[in-house]
Amino acid sequence: MSVEASTEQVLRDSFISLAYLGASVAFILALRSLTKPETARRGIQLALWGMLAAIIGTLVNHEIVTYRWIFIGLVIGSIIGWPLGQKVAMTQMPQRIAISHMFGALAASLVGIAEYLTHSASGHGIERPQMAALGFEVLFGSLTVSGSFMAFGKLHEILPGRGITFPGQNAVNLVTFACTVGLLGYLVYDPTASWAFFAMTGLAFLSGFSMVLPIGGADMPVVVSLLNSYAGLAASATGFALGNPVLIVSGALDGASGFLLSVLMSKAMNRSFANVLFGAFGSAPPKGEGSTGAKGEMKEVTLEDAALALRYARNVVVVPGYGLAVAQAQKLVGEIAEVLEGHGNQVRYAIHPVAGRMPGHMNVLLAEANISYEKMVEMEEINEHFEDVDVCLVIGANDVVNPAAKRDPKSPIFGMPVLNVDQARRVFVLKRGKGTGFAGIENDLFVEEKTSLLFGDAKATLQRLATELKGM
């Protein structure tokens, strides 16, 4: 009897291990498929099957005695998850991603807390390596929960987008975080100290809030990517605590992805991590101070003239900025491009890495407007070719086309990689009014000789431009 039972146990455990192994491989292959747009969809199907395999594997775990709450959880989660997948607009992707970091981290933290409670109640105590893993899991988890919630609030504009700062903030944040890490250290020394566990959880939760509080809306791409990485690390730590390799692997993949994206975003904004986290860039607009700012007058161009120039421009490059997405005018850009292409002109889109509010956001917004991804060109690729561009159409972008980043060492954005729009033969800029950009910086490009401005609401201007071009 006991031999039979143990044989069954071995079979069951092997089945679970195989399911987890399959899931791990599926996830890695899924990410690999994402390296090309043609194979990307196959990738997400693979991830789906991997996840289902892992779930089925887990369901046969011998520790499970009742399926009732699992089932209820799965159903409620699906009911909430469905609209979060189906109904969310593409412009809302950044906050959608931020909130899902929150859910992921919350799941990891709760599992960590439950594991800790179970172990302390059992009286056996927790071994130190496991305590370290649980501690990391809950620390990163709760930090990500509150941090992501703050990021969500700022991106969704239920909280003020500008950073909120007060004197001594960095010191307070550092001390809070140091205390959190100190408590983790104490827990590893004495795993039975449940007060330390809960104090650490609470402080980590507070740290998440205070970390994102001073960071402005323009820096959110870095923050969201970084939180992605933390959520991954929390999942990995769960894997260490439970001795579960599929969690370790998936967490490591998430962590690597988030880390890489935040490095890329930081580079694109010419900022270091430390500067994003402690610099509170968006809080005080450095307008005019130190920088010479833009000199000269902005020239306006009539719609007819702009349309005429576009009609006979053989090489057109559109620079879409977040303003375009806010105006919901991507479809109109697509229409204009179609008319121009009908005349045999080439139209491409120059995408700055931080054109949207998260990595790759602008590409998704353009793809939604049925613009082919083959016409979207990355900054590095197109920057050498701006001299051959007849007309460059800048829509709702400001800092990413500011030549001051290249030539004015006093400019706050000096050193940030920008699109070489100033090398194009002619530049049209669509602009709402004569104000400043998101980071509150004057733009030298707008007063250059070759630049003409079309003032007004981007959507209305593009609408009239499209009508004008179709009539030609």
Partner: protein, 103 residues
């Protein structure tokens, strides 16, 4: 202790593989990449399902069930939204092929 080191091996190697693979994802697909990793993060289901079903006390069951809800939101929502985005990228591919065929 040996086991802990084996786990560390897995973590470091998986992180390395992840880094190598993800550096090759073009910026074009960075948003789908993020939502795909979000969906993959739902793997914490394997931990939360056990906690929700192991009947280790009311508090554990509640925490586990809420964790299952959260992870399932990421799984279902993450899959649907990633699929929606990737459809926009691959759908136009077919459109182009058709146009070229027609010429």
């Amino acid at each position: 202790m040996n086991l802990a080191f084996a786990e560390l091996y897995v973590f470091v190697l998986a992180g390395f593989v992840g880094y190598q693979v993800i550096t090759r994802v073009p910026p074009l697909l960075h948003t789908p990449l993020m939502s795909a990793t979000n969906m993959i993060s739902a793997i914490s289901l394997v931990g939360s399902i056990v906690v929700a079903g192991a009947d280790r006390g009311t508090l554990s069951t509640v925490l586990g069930t809420v964790a299952v809800v959260c992870a399932t939101i990421n799984f279902v929502g993450g899959y649907i939204i990633t699929e929606r985005m990737l459809k926009m990228f691959s759908g136009q591919q077919q459109g182009l092929a058709k146009k070229d065929g027609g010429k």
